[in-house]
Amino acid sequence: MILVVDMNWEKGSLAYGEFVTPIVSAVEPLEECKVRHFSELSPKDLDASSKIVLSGTALKDFVTLQHLDKFSWVRTYPKPILGICAGIQTICKVFGESLTGCLQVGMTDITTVKPNPLFEGNFRAYVLHSLSVAPSSHSFTVLAKSSTCIEAVKHCEKDIYGVLFHPEVRNLQILRCFIELK
């Protein structure tokens, strides 16, 4: 079962349809899917899942960054995680990394800088963020960049992936590759 974590500022928010539903629509044809708001995640939810996807949020929504205590499980979860936009921003903060200002809205060109199982080469993707990640090289490795910021990272030791762009908009194949990760 794939667990999708709703990262929006409150459960059942107006942003749910925009940032969570498209992920669920992409995952459901491939594997059973369950959604939990970040504030309501239980150890049982984590144990029952085979992988976790953390959703993005609205451009003005930084609530998860103020509730890092709700994400301490990220450090010990033994299976793959994919953080999308606010998802990877939050994960990086949990690991003590920095974020940096970078406003991007719309389609942008992405360049893969390190081979990985989710994507390759140059491609275009939808971005919607005002912060990017600025990880130190000993904890996260950079997988992709645009002309203005880091667009994808992977934890150096764990199966934790993060993309600043939104694969659920124009790059569904990336979500499929994540779901099919062994």
């Binding site: 349809g17 498209p22 451009l59 809205v105 719309g106 389609m107 908009v169």
Partner: protein
């Protein structure tokens, strides 16, 4: 949150309004009346109906006229949103964008520059499901414009129902048209919806069509108690 809904009077913006009003406080509707019939951003047939729809909904309307030139209309949109924010103390804006990155990203940028939230509750939703929701929730939606082969004037003025959804899905399979008109194949006008306090009755209309392009002009209407 106090929200303004970008409102064209068509099915998508009316459904977005419906969803937003169930979650937050919708303070006003915002409409750009484009003089350009081929506007890049804004639905055009019967756009003047939005004032009557706003009255039927019991919501104030901020209406701004735009010449509808490609990027200049964004300046007009920003003017309309700025005016609505000032008049109604808005925290955010809601759109009916489903697939258009062009539309959604431009509105996101305007909202960001004005320190407003931007919501797209229909974003990437399944088009068949959207159409079925409209019928199931008793939205009275008529086809007010057709702009693609093999649609013809017989579609104009017809009400969206389950049979029409099936026909649209068949056309999607055969000709690749977007069943909900995401590629501009059809335009719609909403005459009634759950949030409407009164429904709109058409008393006089006219069809102007040539080949696979046509518009259903609503000439005379009245509001009827529900």
């Amino acid at each position: 949150m106090r929200l303004g809904v970008l409102f064209s009077g068509g099915k998508d913006s009316t459904l977005a309004l419906h969803i937003a009003a169930n979650k937050e406080d919708v303070a006003c509707l915002i409409t750009l009346v484009s003089k350009n019939l081929e506007s890049y951003m804004f639905h055009t047939p019967n756009i003047e109906m939005t004032s009557l729809q706003a009255e039927a909904l019991g919501l104030p309307l901020v209406s701004v006229v735009t010449e509808g030139q490609k990027e200049a209309e964004l300046t007009d949109l920003e003017r309309a949103i700025t005016q609505a924010k000032a008049e109604f103390s808005l925290d955010g804006v809601v759109t009916g964008a489903v697939e258009s990155v062009y539309q959604a990203s431009r509105i996101q940028r305007i909202c960001h520059s004005l320190d407003l939230w931007s919501f797209n509750p229909l974003w990437k939703q399944d088009q068949k499901k959207l159409l079925e929701t409209l019928v199931a929730e008793n939205f009275n939606v008529i086809i007010s414009g057709i702009f693609a082969y093999p649609l013809d004037e017989k579609w104009l003025g017809k009400q969206l129902d389950n049979q029409m959804i099936m026909q649209l899905l068949e056309l999607q399979n055969k000709y690749g048209i977007s069943p909900s008109g995401e590629g501009g194949e059809i335009e719609t006008t909403v005459l009634d919806a759950p949030l409407f306090r009164k429904r709109i009755e058409i008393l006089d209309s006219a069809v102007s069509a040539r080949g696979n392009s046509g518009v259903y002009f609503i000439k005379k209407v009245r509001l009827v108690p529900k």
